[in-house]
Symmetry: C2
């Protein structure tokens, strides 16, 4: 599959999102602002609209699914999945580690993913069969010879149910937990792709939260799956695992008690 046109298009989408997002970062906001009136909501909507305009003009046959404006059906096997600002709480808190996520799915499976951090002008691009780049230069995940040496990341315990939290803790307790990092949203997967984190384990993610991450992580040599070790796709349950070293997948699933019980619901 030659995706050079789609890669160029993804860059233009991310450029357009950057231009909409940057003016709203660290604009002071009253702590009581309603969620639909915060700078992040305004930037979120403006960035998704800008990307949708480009997609409508250039690939009207492709479907679009965005966090803010939902699904627009296409007539091709392709769907663009957009999260204009992943890490809205980080954005509101003034942290430059949120990002714009852009994915291209074919038949429901992600084949191209982009993680773009507007403030620091950092862009990770993963393309199936072509590897992952960070600002144009190839990046790879790192080896992890054993679970006890692994650095694990997750955005926060508040995003797990009680059961999910127990599964996460069972896994985290077998890693090098003094290096565990909290917060980070999609940025954790980007840092994993660049070889600085070994495991990210999360739950409750939507398709637009994880679709772009898969080609970035896998193109860098890592693996992503649900909590049963199954490939992620449009119908996945939102329990997500990313590993820098695919050789650790079995250890991780075992530490999680055999797959995180995702069949329970």
């Amino acid at each position: 599959m030659n995706l050079s046109a789609e890669i160029a298009l993804a860059h233009r989408l991310a450029d357009a999102a950057r231009a909409e997002i940057l003016p709203h970062f660290r604009t002071q906001v009253d702590s009581e602002a309603k969620d639909d009136a915060t700078p992040v909501s305004v930037a979120d909507r403006a960035a998704e609209e800008a990307m949708r305009r480009i997609l409508k003009a250039e690939v009207p046959q492709d479907g679009v699914f965005g966090e803010e404006f939902g699904v627009e059906e296409g007539t091709s096997r392709r769907q663009w999945v957009l999260d204009p600002i992943d890490g809205t709480t980080a954005f509101l808190a003034g942290r430059p580690i949120f990002a714009t996520l852009i994915a291209l799915l074919v038949d429901g499976f992600p084949v191209l993913g982009m993680i773009d951090q507007p403030v620091n002008k950092e862009r990770w691009l993963g393309v199936m069969g072509e590897g992952t780049t960070f600002n144009g230069k190839p990046v790879t995940t790192r080896h992890c010879r054993e679970l006890s040496a692994a650095t694990i990341a997750t955005t926060g315990p508040q995003y797990f149910s009680q059961d999910e939290g127990d599964v996460f803790m069972a896994l985290a307790s077998q890693t090098d937990h003094k290096r565990m990092v909290m917060g980070g949203d999609c940025y954790n997967y980007a840092c994993l792709a660049s070889g600085h984190i070994d495991i990210v384990c999360e739950a409750g993610l939507k398709l637009y939260d994880f679709a772009a991450l898969v080609p970035v992580v896998e193109g860098a040599g890592g693996t992503m799956s649900d909590w049963n070790g199954e490939p992620l796709h449009a119908g996945s349950d939102g329990r997500v695992l990313a590993l820098g070293d695919p050789a650790r997948l079995e250890d991780v699933l075992e530490a999680m008690g055999g797959g995180g019980h995702s069949h329970d619901h």
Copy 2:
């Protein structure tokens, strides 16, 4: 107290630390690297040594207390307190939200504080009686009319004892917890000073972790204290509270059950 010479000196210290730290950020490291052989340890030591050289040459009469090389007594009432890299796990994970912390204490109380993020070239400077600046421009905390509208931040639940975690959760549950952010280390206090976070609540901090934060937060209009609402100083117990709006201090202490039991140990 005219601190213009000390302010200029603090800038030179931070510049020197930046130069030592930047070459080590995102240098790939084996996940099994021993703690004393990681890029962050190397950068940490080099940055503290560079700052100590400057202090020894320029203010030999002042004491120095640094995270890496401990206490060097001085003959004046002044002590420079240095944490070359606060947020070592964030540094190792590739996140550009760690910082160099530089504080000047007089008789054990912080009167000047600097939070310097080398990658993004972000520098917060707080000086008693002079206000706080971010890259040279004044910043202020934001108002917070009620606790339920507050954004709270903490680096991670793993840094609390069981009891401390309970106190934190009692407080967090009364804030706008869907906007709660985890991770961040000293960067949370910088974002609070700039008006993007309302409360930071942490435990287990050392003097070099919190001394620089006090003038930054208080110069921006906020307040810092221990969990009993008492001013922070060289002998504080490491349970730290920062509020953007000092008018919320009573509500916060009440939500924490009357002061977090810091007399227990």
